[in-house]
Amino acid sequence: MKHFADLFNALDQTTKTNAKVAALAGYFRAASDTDKLWTIALLSGRRPKRGVTTTLLREWAAERADIPLWLFEECYPVVGDLSETIALVLPPAAGSSARSLTEWIEIVRDLGKHDVPDKKQIVLTAWDSLPPIERFLFNKLITGGLRIGVSQKLMTRALAQATEIEEATLAHRLMGDWTPDKTTFDDLILSENPEADASKPYPFYLAYQLDKLDALGPAADWRAEWKWDGIRGQLVLRRGAHHLWSRGEELITDRFPEFAMLPDFLPDGTVIDGELLAWDHTNDQPQSFNALQPRIGRKTVPKKLLTEAPAVLYAYDLLEHQGRDIRDLGYDARRKLLSESIAGLPASAPIRLSANEPFSSWPELAAKRDTSRDRLAEGVMLKRATSPYLSGRKKGDWWKWKVDPLMIDAVMIYAQAGSGRRANLFTDFTFAVWKGNELVPFTKAYSGLTDAEFRKITAWVRKNTLERYGPVRQVTPEHVFEIAFEGIQKSPRHKSGVALRFPRMSRWRHDKPISDANTLDDLLQMLETYG
């Protein structure tokens, strides 16, 4: 595992993308095929099945470190990472090990087959034979979630350098539900076999937020669609079966049984990119994102939910037509094929075409965009008429042009420390607005401040804690923050009666005393207007 630890160190010790790619490419050139495959798997979020509970790991670590369990539990939130906490409290290793990454993974994978005393023996022996970094990585193999600042995109680029295979080709090969146990480096990466996995989706094309409208050129070169707030999804129909993928590359076919009828209507070799939305069939329009929310986490869907929040795929694009990858065609050409493909479907079929919103000038489109909230849309998408379907987040041909967020000024009243990269720093805050002389909490927010601002507010929280409730600190109401959010909904579960969508801190209002913060009435007014 030493090579993998060296790679980890190299990645962890730099913030520069080029240095990370170089380190990864170097590793991919030198490592064994199985180590490479596992490294790709780990960096794309795959991991061996967990064979031992974290409760046991904590107990064993405390015992081995000769500290009481409560003290271990106190350390954990400070460090913010269980694997690292364990690696830090343990005494120095007595032995050493020359096992490869793959061999360690096999040990971790097989842990589940042993009874508890044997598991303990295996884990303690491992801890005692690994230096600190490898020990941390070993723990990560058990607990999962190894995040080392390498995106899939960056990993793919490094792999492309090492294998001299094109990045887009590799990105496609890496999609889908493969695991290192079921494939080999040769089969997955090196061989040209598009039929290897009938469920395999294409990498999603993602857009950046538009910054300058002027740079786009003539309006005639562009097409506009409404941007909806749902779940981006890809529907794959091949060999008589359908597969539904989320943007996070999660297979969610079983959560949306509505689509099971589609193989009867659409031909094999069809792949559609779109947005999953909860649909209001009576008025033939989308429901709010809140309606879809209960369906996201569920593996199986109760009947009631299927009736209340039936899903449709709002079709944006066609990626595969009659078994042919058509991503290189222009947008207009793909869209023509898309509308032809779904034109003959009955109204009961869970697919709607995302129509192009006609416009002849930018001001005309800007005016339409201003009506987004009334239509329950988030804004508009702009796509160049000639654009191919690229993979990943790319600038130039596709832009999202969201409406400006809603804003409210609120008072910070509770603070909680973050974890991981944000451990030991207060980053999670609860905000309140005025109801008479009382401050009523209405939202939490975690993001939007700079690291420097988080450090500043952390120092302030430490000195201005009024009361502690476990990890939560009540602080002196003193600071006003501007909270930006995308939408507002009625919510009986919240004391304020409202729930916000995507709240974040957009500005620290040093200039405002708390008496100038907004009121609950202001918030309810917003609910009235935009809810």
Partner: protein
Amino acid sequence: MVLEFRPQGIYCPAGDFYIDPWRPVARALITHGHADHSRWGMDSYLATEAAAPVMRHRLGDINLDTIRYGETRQIGGAQVSFHPAGHVPGSAQIRVEVGGEVWVASGDYKLVDDGLSEPFDPVPCHAFITESTFGLPVFKWDRQADVIDAINAWWQASRDAGRYAMLGAYALGKAQRILANVDSSIGPILTHGAIENTNAVLRAQGLKLPDTVRVSAEMNVKDYPGALVIATPPAMNGPWARKFGNRSTAFASGWMAMRGVRRRRAADRGFVMSDHADWEGLNTAIKATGAERIFVTHGYTAQFTRWLTDQGYDAAVVETEFEGESLDSAEPEAEPAA
């Protein structure tokens, strides 16, 4: 009580003096020169001879009396002596004896001999006031020699890659500890003005530091290729640092033991080096005093106190305004006195 905890600081009724007070008082005994222990506005100060020059440099024209390590002085009804704390040059634990009962206020301390500060000397006592900046078992320092080797290797690699090696460290203590121990044959050493000012004071009192060059506005940094640049932490991200262009950045701090902190600082490297005691250090020091009563100040106070209570000590948390080790300031920051 030999010592009491008052809103102004740690107070000795028998001698009518305070130790490291954070509000203006008539008589202050100071453990060391960091700004959270040595503040403005006291009518008179008493500190070790080795701590005095830095205090004068920072606090200006103050009424400062000095004392040698180990020398006993009678103040009112209290016998007072200062003993090395190993934290920074001149730092002391203050021993106070009243009617045969001995209390020790340790200020900040570390047990490792850093090659520069007077090494920590355990002082037997009945009650011990300890810091707890790193009072959790996740904090365990590597041997200084290993950390210095790692710093040298990083400097050398940066130099060979045509980069400056920029290291963030406190202006008093950490910066000089690094200077005194790195391999100065690797290349030139440049220092931030705040650090160089402290260097000058410490050199004048006889501490041996390698040659360093103060970074100034007029300086052409290209004249010093492959240099090690010692910066104060706040200077690391500002315009001061940017003029060095291609550089590898690092911090030297106990907080670097945690990956989350390391990543948040977005520095290339983090060297785990602290002038505070680690977990083992705190426990060893406390045991060595033979004290039964332990008062725990700044740091992981609640957790460390519970641990000490578990171990059979009569331990309690004391709220102070000491800061411990911070990554955001040139050194522990003092709040303006109210």
